[in-house]
Structure formats: C-alpha cells, structure tokens
C-alpha cells in the first residue's frame, strides 16, 4: 500500500513513542516496584483470627515499624477511621467492603484501591514523613459519599 513519506515518518514516530511509554510503565512496575492489585492477594491477612477477625477493622503491630491494617468499608465509614503509626512505618492494608463499591485513597501517597464486596485488596506503603494523611472514599456510594473519610497520623520522633 502506498503511503506518503511524511505519513510513514509519523507512523514510526507514534509507534516509537508508544514503545517508550510502554517501557516506562514496565520500568515503574518491575524496577521501582509500584504495585497494583491482582488476584494473587485474595487471602485475608496471614493467621488472622481470634483478636483479629478477618471481617472486622483492626490494626496490629507485627514487629517494630511493621503494621497490618484490616480496613472495613461500609456506608459511610472506614473502620478503623484513624490510624496512628510512628514515622518510617511500613503498613500493609487489607481492604474489604461490607456493602457497596467504595474506594480508598490516602492523599499524598500512591495508595489507591477499589473496595469490592467479595474481594480483598492489598497494598503496602512506607510512611517516611510525619504528618496527617487524610484518606477518602473515591467511588460513589450513595448520598453520604462525600462524608466518608479518615486519616493516617504519622508521628515524628
């Protein structure tokens, strides 16, 4: 098929750009380790039982600076709604929904996940800077959706 030379140049340029973008995405995911959720984590937190039932909200310290949070969402609250950890802590969140679709986004971080009834989302983040990090529901869940929020407080030393 005959194509104009400029047009051919444009096609190669576009394809080249997309290849560069694809590599950048692959790099951010494989090398920088930026996670997105998959099916691999459909388990509840390891050995959650007793004091830490899988279907309730809780925070537990696994080791100094290592935390696990079981986050329950329902209209229009997060449980736990406030999380206090010392600076430098690495926190793994397990996200559940008891009713509708909800969202979980911690402002100023890369933590962002969908809460879907029947699925468990998992994301890990290290809080290096002290301060208050509000988290909000970012999926519509009824008339009180804009009221649904909480906060992570990272305490300095």
């Amino acid at each position: 098929m005959h194509t104009h030379p400029l047009e051919r140049f444009w096609i190669y340029l576009s394809a080249g750009l997309l290849v560069v973008f694809a590599f950048a995405v692959a790099f951010s995911s494989l090398v920088l380790g930026i996670e997105i959720p998959g099916i691999e984590d459909q388990a509840v937190p390891a050995a959650a039982a007793g004091e830490y039932p899988p279907n309730q909200g809780w925070i537990r310290e696994l080791a100094p600076g290592r935390y696990e949070v079981n986050m329950m969402t329902r209209v229009w609250t997060f449980d736990p709604g406030e999380i206090r950890v010392p600076r430098g802590s690495t926190v793994t969140f397990y996200l559940h929904s008891a009713d509708l679709l909800h969202g979980f986004r911690i402002q100023g971080t890369t933590v962002s996940l969908m809460a879907i009834p029947g699925q468990v989302g998992k994301v890990t983040y290290t809080f290096t800077t002290p301060g208050e990090y509000p988290f909000v529901c970012h999926e519509y869940c009824g008339v009180g959706h804009h009221l649904m929020s909480g906060r992570v407080i990272v305490e300095g030393n």
Partner: protein, 549 residues
C-alpha cells in the same frame, strides 16, 4: 469512484433523522444544566436547594452522566448514522418502517429512564455499579435503548447488502463505510452490557436473584464501557475525515489510511476494558498489563487520524491560497461555524488524547484514578471532540433536513469559541484539582476533608463551566430558532469530500468487514475469556442491593 453523487433523501427519512437528533439535544440541554450545578457546588455555591428539579448532587450527576453520554450521544448517532448510510449509498433505506420501530423502541426505553432518574429512583450514576441498585424500570429502559441500536445495525446492514447487490465491484462510499465500521464495532461491544443487564441487573432488581456478583457485573460493564467511547467518537471521525475536508475546500489526504483507521478500531476498541479496572482486586495483574498494552495499540489509529485529518484540512487551506508552514491555517473558512466548531474540537482532542495516555498507563494511573483528573480528560474527548463536533455538524445538517437557513451564524460562531475557552478552563481546573487528589463523583463543596489547595482549581473549573453553559444556551436558542423561526426554502449542501487521488488501487481487505470482525472475536477471546471464565465459575450471587440515595 468512492465519492458520492448529490442525492435527496425522502422526507419521511429526514423526519426520522430530525427526531433522533432533536430528542438527543433536548436531553443534552438538561444535562448541561446539571453540569453547571456540579461545577458551582465544587466552588462553594450550592444551588441544589434553590433549583427544585433534583434532590441532591448525586441525582443531578446521574442525570448529567446518563443524559449526556448515554442519551444525547446515542440519539444523535442513531440519526447521523442513518443519514450518512442513506445519503452515502444514494438509495432509500430499505427498512424505513423498521426505522420508526427503532425510534419508538428506544424512546419507550428512554421514557422509563427519564422517569426513574427524575423521580430519584436511579441515582446510581451512568456506570450503574452493583450492588447500588436502581428501579427495574431504569435497567429495562436502558436495555430498550440498546435494542434500538441493534435494530439500527439491522437496517444499516440491509441497506449495505442491497447496495452491494446493485453495485457489484464498487467500493463502499466513504461516509457509509465509516458508519458501518462504527455500528459493527458497537454490535460486538454491546454484548457485555446486554449480558450484564439482562442476565444480572434486571432479575436482581426485580428480586428474582438473591444477590449480585459485584466484580463480575463491573467487568461486564467495562467490556462495553471502553468501546462505547469509540461508538461516540467514530461518528465525529466520519465528519472529520470525509466531510470537513470538503467544508474547507480540500480533499481527503489518503483514502486507504482513512479506511484502515476505521477498520483498526473494530478489533482494537474491545480488548482493553481492564484499563478501567487497574485498581480492582480480583483481576490478574498479567491481564491488566495485556489490556494496558492493547490500549496503547488503540492509540495508533487515533494518531493516524490526527495526521490524515490535519493533512486533509491543510489541502483546503492551501487551495484557498495559504502559503508557508502555517499560513494555510489562517486561510481556512473560520467564518463558517460548522468548520470552526470542528477545528476547535480537534485542538482540544489532542489534549484529551495526551491525558488519556496518562490514564491508560497502568502505574501512573494510580495517581489519578477516580480523581477529577478523569472528568478533566473526558470533557475534552466526549465533552468536546464529540459534543462540539456534533454541534458543528448540526449547523449544516439541521438546515439541510429542514430546508431552512441557520437561524444565526454569528451566535453559532460565538458558541463554538465559548465552548472552546470554557472547556479549556474547566478541564484545566479539573485536571489540576485531580492531581492534587480531589476525588471525582463527589459533592466536594460539602466534604469535610476539603483541602484548601483545591479552592483555586475548582473555582477555575466553575468559571469554565459558566462559559460552557452560556455556550450551550446559545446553541439551543439557535437550534430552536432554526427549527421554527428561520426562513424556509434554502438548500444546504451535504459536504462530502473526495480523496486527493481518486480511485487509487487499494487492497481488498480495506473494503471488507468480515476479516476484521473475525480478528476481533479472536482477540477478545484471548484478552477476556480466561478472566470471564474464572469469574463465572466462581460467581456468587450473594450481595444484596442497596439504594442509599
């Protein structure tokens, strides 16, 4: 020859087209009013208690989303595709009776949808995510609208096959070719929501199923939910590729590449839905990555379009005496509102495409997912590239159909420029607020966690929204004026562009649909079947519905 001889459609066909377009725009008018309320609410001006039409932000937002991108688009497109099919083939549509049946099926559905939305019985937003539950009438109504689009597919296929029998060996006229590619793509794409609505949502909302599987439902939705954006966009491309060059006094730059771009959209639009589900637990990262790569691939036909359309418009500017690298731009007929609207729509579409790449990028998406960045992106694409182009088309189409002059050319020019500036500001404000973390689909003006740094971007967006609303008012006044007030007895040409190289040799697969539909089926099976199979195998219809609105 792939061009089109002038042809007059029968009056009854013209009436049908006008009805589709008219009902579409009537809904857009209400939708835009809701948009204004949303923008102002974000900037701290809450008019929901003053305007008695809707009870709260989310009812208004449901109306805004459904009316603008489900009703307005579908109705305009139904009318426009019927028009270009009949006009392009230069023969009466074989199923005119079926055309009216289509209209009434869709409109019966629309009445149900309108009622449910206005009565606050379907404030679930246009995505209808279960387990949020709407009144059954809403789901049934939307299904009837989709059934209408399938009837449209039947009419268009009949017309095409009849034409092929009558014209053996001739290439399909370009505008009709574009229309067929659009409707075939949609026929394949709509399977997802058909299964979702008929199989899950309707029986569930009627109480016939104990519950719903939210992830399965959502996955079926996005099977259709991404390709639907190409169902909106391709009719605008029909105008940009095959009509606008004529309006600017030029020719289509490359016929084979134009056809190739349309055909590529059939297989590439579909297997990409997971890019809306990057942050969903329960869908594997591997398949998300595959859909992410294919999303980059579907960017290619849009890049082809950028080149061919711009080069075609350039032939017009040069034919009108434009010189130098950019001199042809000033020579384009900017005093023609139909041309101006479409050229401005293209400019903003470029930014829409760039912001779309951000959304599509797997990991970068994390930062903007479900923030106002996303509406900042799609008001440039569907909200401008599509909506403003449809308005531009209306500026010649409605005069052509009614035999009346456009009521006010000046108002139309103002309308196009105001939309351009209004959308630039609104979209900039939204993208900016989104990058600062402001969530979308949220009555931010009432949110306790409102961040002070969101104030400026949201005011900017609200100001843009006001300009847009003024633009909308100008458009609707002009439309009403043209339909009922403007002088009669005026003939308006249907612009159809000829290719630069008339009748150039071209491989046969560029004028056939079957190979492309087959490739699509294979690609979609590879991208979707493993996940869908797993989701169906693990399906648990246990989550009850909730109507917290």
């Amino acid at each position: 020859m792939s061009g089109v001889a002038p042809y007059e459609m029968r009056t009854s066909e013209k009436r049908l087209v006008l009805w589709f377009i008219g009902i579409g725009f009537a809904h857009l008018a209400v939708g835009i009013l809701m948009g204004l309320l949303q923008g102002l609410q974000h900037a701290g001006i809450d008019l929901y208690r003053v305007v008695p039409l809707v009870r709260h932000y989310y009812q208004g937002l449901s109306i805004h989303g459904v009316f603008n991108v489900l009703v307005f688009t579908t109705y305009f497109i139904a009318g426009f595709l019927l028009f270009v099919t009949g006009y392009g083939l230069g023969r009466p549509l074989p199923g005119l009776r079926l055309g009216w049946v289509t209209f009434w099926v869709m409109t019966a559905g629309l009445v149900l949808v309108d009622w449910a939305l206005l009565a606050n019985k379907a404030s679930v937003l246009f995505t209808s995510y279960a387990p949020l539950q709407a009144h059954p009438a809403y789901y049934v109504g939307l299904v009837l609208v989709v059934v209408g689009t399938w009837l449209l597919l039947v009419i268009m296929t009949q017309a095409y096959l009849a034409w092929r029998r009558e014209n053996p060996g001739r290439r399909t006229p370009l505008i009709t070719f574009g229309a067929l590619a659009t409707i075939f793509m949609w026929g394949l794409a709509s399977v997802g929501i058909a299964v979702q609505f008929v199989g899950l949502l309707i029986p569930w909302s009627l109480g016939l199923l104990p519950g719903v599987d939210p992830l399965l439902s959502r996955t079926l939705f996005w099977f259709t939910g991404h390709p639907i954006v190409y169902f909106w966009l391709l009719p605008a491309y029909i105008s940009w590729y095959f009509m606008l060059p004529r309006q600017v006094g030029g020719r289509l730059f490359s016929e084979p590449l134009a056809r190739l771009a349309f055909l590529l959209f059939i297989p590439l639009s579909l297997p990409v839905g997971f890019h809306h589900q990057y942050l969903d637990p329960g869908v594997s990262v591997g398949y998300k990555a595959i859909h992410g790569l294919l999303t980059f691939a579907v960017f290619m036909p849009s890049m082809l379009t950028a080149f061919t359309v711009l080069a075609s418009v350039e032939t017009g500017g040069r034919a009108r005496g434009g010189r130098g690298w950019l001199g042809w731009i000033g020579r384009l007929p900017w005093q023609d509102p139909s041309v101006t609207a479409q050229l401005l729509a293209m400019v903003l579409f470029a930014f829409g495409g760039i912001s779309g790449l951000v959304n599509a990028s797997f990991t970068v998406n994390l930062v903007v997912h479900n923030t106002l960045f996303v509406p900042g992106h799609f008001h440039l694409t569907v909200g401008t590239a599509v909506a403003l182009t449809f308005m531009g088309v209306t500026y010649w189409l409605v005069p052509h159909l009614t035999g009346r002059r456009l009521w006010s050319r000046k108002a139309a020019l103002w309308q196009a420029w105001l939309w351009f500036f209004g959308m630039t500001l609104m979209s900039r404000g939204m993208v900016w607020a989104g990058m600062l973390g402001a969530p979308r689909r949220t009555a931010l003006g009432s949110a306790p966690y409102f961040q002070p740094e969101w104030t400026d971007p949201l005011r900017l967006a609200a100001f843009g929204g006001v300009l847009l609303t003024v633009s909308g008012v100008l458009f609707f006044v002009n439309l009403v004026g043209t339909l009922w007030g403007a002088p009669r007895g005026v003939t308006t040409e249907v612009p159809v562009a000829e290719p630069v190289e008339e009748g150039r040799a071209m491989p046969a697969f560029l004028d056939r649909f079957t190979p492309w539909v087959t490739v699509t089926a294979v690609l979609v099976a590879a991208a979707y079947l493993p996940t869908l199979y797993r989701l169906f195998a693990e399906m648990r219809l246990t989550v009850p519905g909730l109507r917290p609105y």
